[in-house]
Structure formats: C-alpha cells, structure tokens
Symmetry: D2
Subunit: 365 residues, 4 copies
C-alpha cells in the first residue's frame, strides 16, 4: 500500500480530533496510508508533547518548515483563522495537497482568494466541514439524489448550543471580533449553511437579524454576534429558516435539520447523529444508520453499534486520502475550498441583511 | 347554579368541537351552566340535523334571529371569516357576550374595528385561540411568569402541516383568496403568533418571505400563500423564527414551540400536547402535564391519563363562562378581541415584509 | 333513530368517564341513542348530585330499582368489585344488556359464574377493558390480523405506575385484600393480560413472582401485591414477559406493549396513546393514529388532532350500542364476559406460580 | 511514562475493537502506554495482515509464543470461548495480567476454575463486559451509589437484537451448541446479567423459559436457545425481568435497562448510549452524558459531541492499564473474573429453571 506524509499545523481540540482519525485510518482500508511526519506550533513544549502523543516523527515551531519538508504530501491546517491564508496557499503552491478548517477565511473575500489561488495549483483541497461525513448526512444526500423526497419545498436548519449563558465563558476569545471575526455566524452558522448547500441547493437570498446578548458593545464594535435568525430562499423556490446561537439553553450540540419534499421528509439532530428520521409516506421512520449498506459502515461494527462524533473525521480524512490516491474526487461529497468560500458568502449576506434591514441576495459570481 | 343561554352560528368542524365542549361542561364544575338555546345556519336541513345532534332547542336560518333571542346571553360565532364582523358586533351591541373564531377579521383593519366596537359595549369577548387552553401551554405561561427560565433570549414557533401536498385538496376553498383571505398565514400562522404573544411578548419587527407552491397565480392574484418563514424580533431583544406551512411532509399537526431563557428552556409539540419539555438546568425533562396540580386537570382523570385536542375547547369555554359569571376575566389567559386584532397586525406585517423585501415594524397603536 | 335506556350503578371515577362518553355519543353517529334513565348509589346526596350533573332523569339508592325499571335496556355496572356479581346477573336475567367493569369477579371462579349465567340469558355482555378501544390498539390488531408482522415470536407487556411510592396513599382501600381482592395484579395486570389475549393469543403457562413493598403483612394476610413479574408462554411458542406495579417511579400511566414477529414489530405506550410504533422492515415508524382511515377516527377531528384517554370510553360504548342494535357483535373487538373470566384465570395462574415457585399452566376449560 | 507490552489472541471483530482502543489510548492520558508486541492466530496470512494493520511488531500462529514472550505484560484473550481457559490460565501463571472476553468459560464450572486459578496468581484480571464502561452506565452507578434513587424496587433488563430473523444467518456458528455453548443466553444475556449485578445487586432466584425458534433440534440437542425470558428476584426484595433474544424485530442493538427506586428512576438504551434518562422527581430528564464532569469525558470532546460504541473499549482498557499501573483496582467498576464467573452462574440458573419449570436459586458459594 502506498503512503503519504502528513504535516499538521495546530494541536488543539481539532488537532486531537484529526490525530485520532489518522491513527484509526492506519487500521482501515484506505488506498493511502498516512505517515505522521511533522506537526507545527508556536509553543515548543506543547507541540513537542503533542508530537509524542499523536505519533508525529518531529515537531517544528515555524510552519514554513512544514512547507519545506519534501516528505509531506498533505498539509492539514488546523490553526486559528488568521493563520489559514498564508500557510494554505504556500503549501498548495509547493505542490502539497491541503485541508483547511472552517471558516476558510476571515471574510468572504479572503476565502475567495484562498480558493482561487489554491485551485490554480491543481492540488486536492478540502474545507473541513466534517458534518458531511456523518453517515446519516451522507444517507440523506443519497436519498435526496435518488429523488425519494420528490420536489423539495422546505428546509429548516439550526445550530443550537448553550454554553454562551455560562458567565465564566464570557471572556473567551470566541467573543472577540478581533480574534474570531464573527460569533455564532462563522463558528456555527457556516456548518448549517454548508449542509443546506450540500443537501438542498444554493441559497439565493436571506432576510436576517443578529443579536449580541452580552453586556458588550454591539456587532462591529468589538463584540461578535451571539445569535442570528434568517428567513431563507433557496434556488427552486424552497422556503427555509436558518439559525445559530450559543444561547439556546436545553440544547447542547443541537445541529438540527429538516427537509420536506413533495413525497417525503428527513430530520436529523447531531445529538443523535446515528439516526436519520425518514418519512417516505405520512410518518417518520427512525433509521439507525448503522446497517452494513449504510455510508461509511464498512469501517465499523455490527448494526446498532453506534459511531461517535469523532469518527466523522475518520470518514473525512479517508475521503480526502482516497481522492489524493486518484480513486475519487473531493467533490461533491467533500467540501472543496469553493464550498468553503461559498458558505462564507452566505454568511456575509446574512450579516449584511441584519445591518441593512433588507433581503439580501447571495452573490453567485 | 345559574345558567346562560348559548346561541351558535355555524355547525361545521368548529361547531362540532364547541358542541362537544358545551355538553361536557354541563358535567363539570363551572359557575355558569350552558343552556343550548339556538343554532343558526343557511342550509335548513343541515342545521336542523345539527340542532338535534348537539342538543339545541331550536335552529334558525338567519343569524339575526339569534341576536333577537333574549334567552341567548352568549353568541358563539363559528361562521366563515366573512361572517365574523356583522353578527359579532350586532350581538355585542345587543348586550350579549361574544366568542369569535380566529382570525378575528379578514384583515387587520376589520379586526380592529370588531375589537373596538365590541369593547365599547362592555360585554365579555373572546377570540378562540384554543391552544392557550392546552394544559402544557398554560403551564408554560406559569413557569415563564414565575421567572423559572430567567431572561428570555429565543423563541422558535412553527405550525407545520402536510395536507397541502395532497393533490385532491387543491380545489378547496382554503386555497382561494376571495374566500379565505390568506392561506397558511391566517389559518396556521395566527395560532403561533398568538402563542408568541401569550408566552414571550409583543413582536416588534419581522423579516419574512411567503411562497405559493401550487401551479396557481401568486399571492394577491387569486391564490393564497402556502407557506411563510420569518425572522422575528420580540420586545426585549428576543430573537425568533416564525413559520407556517401546509407543505411540511412528515408533520401532521406540528405546532412546535421552543423558548430559551438564561436559566432554562421549554419545548412543546401539539402532536404530543400532554407533554411539556422543561429544562431547568442543562437538560430537558419530559413533564406529562396530567398531575392534579397541573392546569385544568381538576376536570379530568388520574395522572398519566391524557386529554385530547378537543378537550382544549372545554377549558376555553369553561374559562369564558367563569369570566361571564364574574369570577374571573378573559384576559390574560384567554385571548380577547384585542389579542385577535394584534395577531392580525403581526400577520399583516409578515405579508408586508414578504412583498417589500424589508424588515417591517409591527404597529403598536 | 332508535334509543335505549341506560341505568348506571356507581358514580365515582368510572361513572364520570362513562357519563362523559354517553353525552358525547349522543352527538355522534351510532345506531342507538342512549337515554340516561337512572343512576344508583348508596349515598343519596351524592347520587342525586351525580344524576343532575350527568343528566340522568332520576336517582335511586337501591340497585334493584334499576333492575325493576322497564325503561332500562342496558345496565352499566361500575360499582366496587363486590357488587359485580349479583346486580349483573340480575339485570341479565331480567333481559337487560350488561356492561361490567374489570376485573369481572373477585376471583376466577366468581368471574366464570358471572360469565356463564349471563351468557345463558342471551343478552349482550361486555367487560370494560377500555384499552381495546384505543385507536392504536385496534390498528395493532388489524395489522396483526392482516399478517403484516409475520409469525409472532415475542410479546412484552407491562403496566407501570408510580403512585404507590407516595406514602399518603398507603391507607387507601386499594391496598386492602378484603376490599380489593388483589393489588397490582387485578387492577393493572388484568389490563395487560387482556391486551396480550386480544393481540397475540392465549397464555399457556406463567412463571411468576409477586412482591409487597409496604411495611404490611404479606399477600394473603391482609395486604395485596404491589407488583408482579412473570415469564410468559403464549400459544404458538411465543415468549413473553408480563409485569405490573404501582412502584415504578418515572412512569405515570405506563402501559407499554411490544410485539415482535418474523416480518415486523409493534410498540405502544398509553402515555402516548395516539401513537403506534410500527416496524415493517428494520426500523420503527411513528404512526400517529389520527388519519381518516384509522379506527374510530370517523368520530373525531382532522389528522394530528389527538384524542384523549377518556375518548376510549366513547368508542367502547359506541361499540356496545352497535352490537345491541344488531349491527355488529361485541366479540372479537370488545371483551365479552368470557374474556373477563379468562383474564382472571391468567391472573390466578400468576398468583399460584408466585406461591408455588413452579411454572403454572393456565386452565383452558 | 511507563509502558507495557500487549499480546493479543484473536483478530476478528473483537480484535479490531481492541486494536482501535489501544491505538487511541496511546494518545490519551493513561499511566501506562501500551506497546503492541505480538498477535496470535491460526491462519498465518490473516494474522500477518492483522499485525500490520493494527501495528503489532510481530505475529505468531501458536498462542504459547505469547506466553513465552517476556516483553508481554498483558494478554488480551479475544479468542473463541473454547480457547478461553488454557491460554488465560497459562498467561496468569506466567505472571502476565489478563483480559478475557465474555462469557468467561463455556459453563459456570469452567468459569469458576478460570477465576480461581487466575486469582491465585495475583495478577490483574478483567472480564471484558464493556458496557460497564459506557459513560451513561458509569453515571448510573454513581447516582445509585449516592442514593439518589432511594431504595430500589425494580429492575428491567433486556438485550433485544433482530438478526436471527435473517434466514441467511441461520447456518452461522453462533447457532451451534458445540461451538457456541449457548445462544442468546450466553452471548447477550450475560451482558444484561452483568449490568444487573453491577448496578442493582446479586440475583437470588430466577423463573425462566427459553425458546428455539428455528426449525432445528431443541436446546441441548445441537441447537442453541434463540431467546429467554425470566422473572428475577434480586437481593433486597427487588423484582425484575430479564430477557435476551436475537428475534426482536425493530430492535437493532437494544440493550435496554430500567431501574425504579423509591425516590427516582433510571432508563438506558445502548442504541442511544450517550443518554441516560434520569427521574429525580416524577418525570424523566434526558441527560446527555457528555459534560466535562461526566465519566470518561476527560478523554473526549466538548459537550454534546457524542462518543461511539467502540469508545467503550478505550475506557475499558484505560481502566485496566490504570489498575496494572497500581493507580486503581479493576473492581468494582471493571468486571473481574469473579464477576465473569458469577454472571455465568446466573445464566446457568436460567437454563436450569427453563428445563425444570421451577424457580431456581442462584448459588452464592
């Protein structure tokens, strides 16, 4: 079996998730075996510990060393948003394949630049919208592609978390516009925007409002949005609602999705990510997406033995490695950098509508 | 025990629900016993059959006979929307108490006129938003009033039905603008608007879109809206979404409500109307609203023996009779004609926003 | 339309449920209209108040006056278990049709006597197992009869309530063997035994244990059973479990049923009595049993507008009146007195097995 | 950090689960880092492939080479039941710590021998009942130990799968008494027996029946049991039911557990293994067991990001390594070989009761 050298930038929460996925992938049937070459981070002690723990051969404190390392064929950019642009483009221009965490850029313009410059190099590129790689979401896409829901009339997508109400979290960098760019919109909203695009179609226009609940200056004055709500029009006359918030008590990681078509419907909640509610007739059936024929299940256990959130990264990276091996393509099931950019355009239209009080079109250009 | 004579205008689906409630109320502890005096309808054979079935002493084919009947102390106007204004005002001006089905008028202006002219007479008036009288909704109000959810941040309210996708229903009068005024907005939307007002507060502004899915002229040209979606701002900076549709496959009578506050949350679905999901800490508890201390349960069975949709009319009419008896007031738990009018103002703002593409304020006047 | 005079013995909780059903039936399409002739009870003030409230023409303090009243064609015996035998037999022998609450007799022998003597008269007789008249249970029967589940392998039936843990209830007559005969076994257990018989088949043998949790003399010494559990064999080699208790905290009125066949499965919980979980393939579909074609729904509201526990009595009495009118039969969908007796034989076998420590056959005789 | 050499016997489904757990543990904070020394299996090509895939340094075809390898400090015996006894005892007598899959022996006598001979050596021993290591199950134990449910009255435990109804599976070795020993009882039943012992207490007596649904000779004549059901008495007067089957259509991996005490209740289903239903008062709260303070969550993701079935092995092996490192003990949270033996004694009593038709005591000896 052929191998590929992996370089990783960043070693926090996302680094842990990706490292766990890479070690698991070494035990599974993928056409390219990942070799963990080097990991980069600014704090040498911390990155050294991460390298030992995750099994990287070496660690570096300057990401440019990853670019210079010829053994590295794939760069995973898991760094903070401000570090997405430069290393990602540099890696691609050095001929390395690239994965970058979402949101791709700090704004839609930066995202577009990253996409266009990387696409020009011809390498494989993937924006890490991992929810596409949950078995239930892939199954939803398959059902939709097969026309089992008929003509689509509605989509309802929301990402509801509640940690914002915890006062002790209020000082976190995630609330600071300088560091985070936006709040719930970029962090949570882009996930649901991407799923709407993946499953239903291109958003055409949004009518939105945003809100900052904390005792802090408003959006654009140092404090990020805590929540947004939008009425959404998707191509083909589909009516939708879109929402994200960190203030929805009772919901822990409530990414909830519902799609209604002329012949059936789907519903999903990431808190029960192994289940897809499927209505083919009048009523919903609770499909436990763990059957042998279900997406990604060839990697796992017998029916009813559920997978976890972290396992979506195994599927995501397996998909990317398969594409790099030439046995598939990132699109349409993986999000490319174009998808990363287009999600940011929708987010930008939402922010614009919230400010203008008008329905705003999503640019297609 | 004192009695009150009831006159009923209309004998369709709503007539059946109200007649069932009146006969049940005669077996329960309410301070005023309803006597079924007369029922009015245009088709004499049909109204005669209804009178016999429901137990009215006589039937009439001209509603003016109800107004003239001095034995009638309460008029229940369950007729089509076009018959709301004149008989309701006439009854009130004749000194009769009045109940009128929703929506109160065919538009906000007519609703306001009905409210103002009836209010001027001093009789008791009630707009029949029966969902306020589900035990779980009343319990929700009690929890909110007691401050158990803290400061409210979010409301999510939608009314999802699916019968619109049934082609055989397409010719129904409910799709005709002449007869119905509006579609999902007036029929379903006003129910959720009223619940938002009852539980959360006054809507301040809406950003909305509407849609007609059928092969029919658009809204305002003979065909009514099949669905709407709105981003909603409620007084106090509360962020909401509001939606109604007859095209949501998988949902049968899905009036769904969620409210998130700083200290807890509530969730409700009328398909499981005996349950209120209550989060006081991190997680939702499934409260079966059938305990002796729960609202309206003094009328019914032991714990866990659930009530039905039709029983909400028993509670509604019991509430009105208690107010007429002078042992309570219609407001705040019952919807008065003012509430009927204000709900129509919100619906009007939604329709306006859908046309203008702008965020529209709800007039407070 | 023809009418039938009804006499009622008893005016407590069950009297209220039946009176509510009778008044509702007068508004529905049944071939025989019930006229409320007389109600009997020992406490004159109380029975007079009940007569006025429920709409009976007169009240009596001696049940023999009901037997003597020629206008009465149907006796509803809702009295305490000790008053089941004599009035029921007397009424039948006087040519009146009879309904009797469950359990039919104080023990299996008394039940058999009531059944045999009443059956000999030729009147219609019904033992009031009202759960057979929930739409979801009738639908379950229809699916089973149509063979949609294939060959049945398993049944799991339990009736879980929790009020026993409430210390203040400990003195209630329901805990006294003299007055109540048995505890959870007769009160709750017979309901699930009847449903197993109605839906799955005749119990053949049971291996059981019973328990009294209170600080009270054991079963047979003045204190009744608080709970029982049994492994159950049903004809055809079906494996089952059977359980009832008043001590299952977290469950309010948890009559839960599951049936697994070679081609599908059913699950039901009376706390959500409008829903039937139906697995035709691998997974359960949540059927909301409120469609126009669903059992009993011709009496009620549009889809998704659920019925309550009390409405099962409307269906039950409507079924009996239809049988009396000669337009149907009590069996198989209604429980006859034979069904009442056979349920008591299963209960007796459970009590016997708990004492003997042996698997006990259920006599078929 | 110190390390320990691991030898593995078997490389099928369980080998995959354990190998995945070992590679994950190398990235987590456990006091002993597992080194993958050697894996044994009879088919050299297959075991060589497994060694490469899972990262073992070498493979062998004779398990005695694992015993002889001084670098191995822990033997994981994941082989078929017939290979449990000899290698496990040999490893322990060579001073190696041992983990053995369940059921420990082919019958209770063999289990007892394995337990006693291994216990005599002083090594750490663990029977791989992995469900104890699901966060929700550990949380249940903590709540029970803290007395939050009060005095326990009921336990209901069942393991419902449905693959037996798939005709193509009928020839599988799991249905053969020679190879498998027993059917649902040993394979699924011991899991629920162990959970009852871990959470509630020692079973005292059982009244049971077993069944073989296939067209095959009965239990003890070449065909194993397909299902059993038992009424169960647990020490302290607790009433229970116990059941396992491979024929429960609609259930995929339905290990379901409910415990009712005087002050509250718990319910659990392994198909939603991240959730524990907890009733502290009247109603169940759905606890998503992913909070930072929940068991095992220090290893994983932010709240609401659920774990999978396979992750329970990470917790299980981490627990064992911690015990081997001297920083804890296998008991009480892990199952020792004594627990493995005692579970088999309960299973034996169930089989005995099914044959005798009598309530059978579980020996305590």
């Amino acid at each position: 079996m052929q191998a590929i050298g992996v370089g990783m930038l960043g070693y926090g929460f996302m680094g842990k998730a990706h490292a766990h996925a890479l070690s698991t992938l070494r035990q599974l049937d993928v056409p390219l075996r990942p070799e963990l070459v080097a990991i980069a981070g600014r704090d040498e002690a911390a990155v050294a510990e991460a390298a030992w723990r995750y099994g990287f051969e070496r660690h570096v404190t300057d990401w440019r060393e990853l670019i210079a390392d010829e053994r590295i064929g794939l760069l995973e950019n898991l760094g903070p948003n401000a570090l997405h642009r430069e290393p990602t483009i540099a890696a691609a221009e050095a001929g390395k394949h690239v994965l970058c965490e979402k949101p791709l850029g700090r704004d839609a313009a930066e995202s577009r630049e990253i996409f266009e410059r990387v696409a020009a190099t011809g390498v494989q590129h993937m924006c890490a919208f991992n929810y596409r790689f949950m078995p239930a979401i892939r199954l939803a896409r398959e059902l939709l592609e097969a026309g089992e829901l008929g003509e689509i009339h509605h989509v309802r997508a929301r990402y509801l978390q509640s940690w914002g109400t915890d006062a002790s979290a209020h000082g976190a960098w995630r609330f600071d516009a300088e560091q985070a760019g936006s709040g719930a919109l970029g962090d949570l909203g882009t996930h649901v925007i991407d799923l709407v695009r993946y499953l239903v179609g291109e958003p055409v226009a949004v009518s939105a409002l945003t809100r900052t609940f904390r005792d802090a200056p408003g959006l654009g004055e140092g404090g990020v949005d805590d929540a947004f709500a939008a009425a959404l029009e998707v191509e083909g006359g589909i009516v939708g609602t879109l929402e994200a918030t960190r203030w929805a008590t009772g919901r822990i990681n409530g990414l909830q999705l519902e799609i209604n078509g002329s012949r059936g419907a789907l519903a999903f909640d990431v808190e029960r990510l192994n289940e897809l509610q499927v209505a083919r007739g009048r009523f919903f059936e609770r499909v436990l997406v763990t059957e042998p024929e279900h997406p990604f299940m060839e990697h796992w256990w017998p029916p009813g033995h559920i997978v976890g959130w972290g396992d979506s990264f195994v599927h995501e990276l397996g998909h990317l490695l398969t594409a790099i091996a030439g046995e598939g393509t990132v699109a349409p099931h993986g999000a490319t950098f174009e998808d990363g950019w287009r999600a940011d355009e929708v987010a930008a239209a939402i922010a614009r509508s919230a400010r203008s009080g008008r329905r705003e079109d999503v640019p297609r250009g």
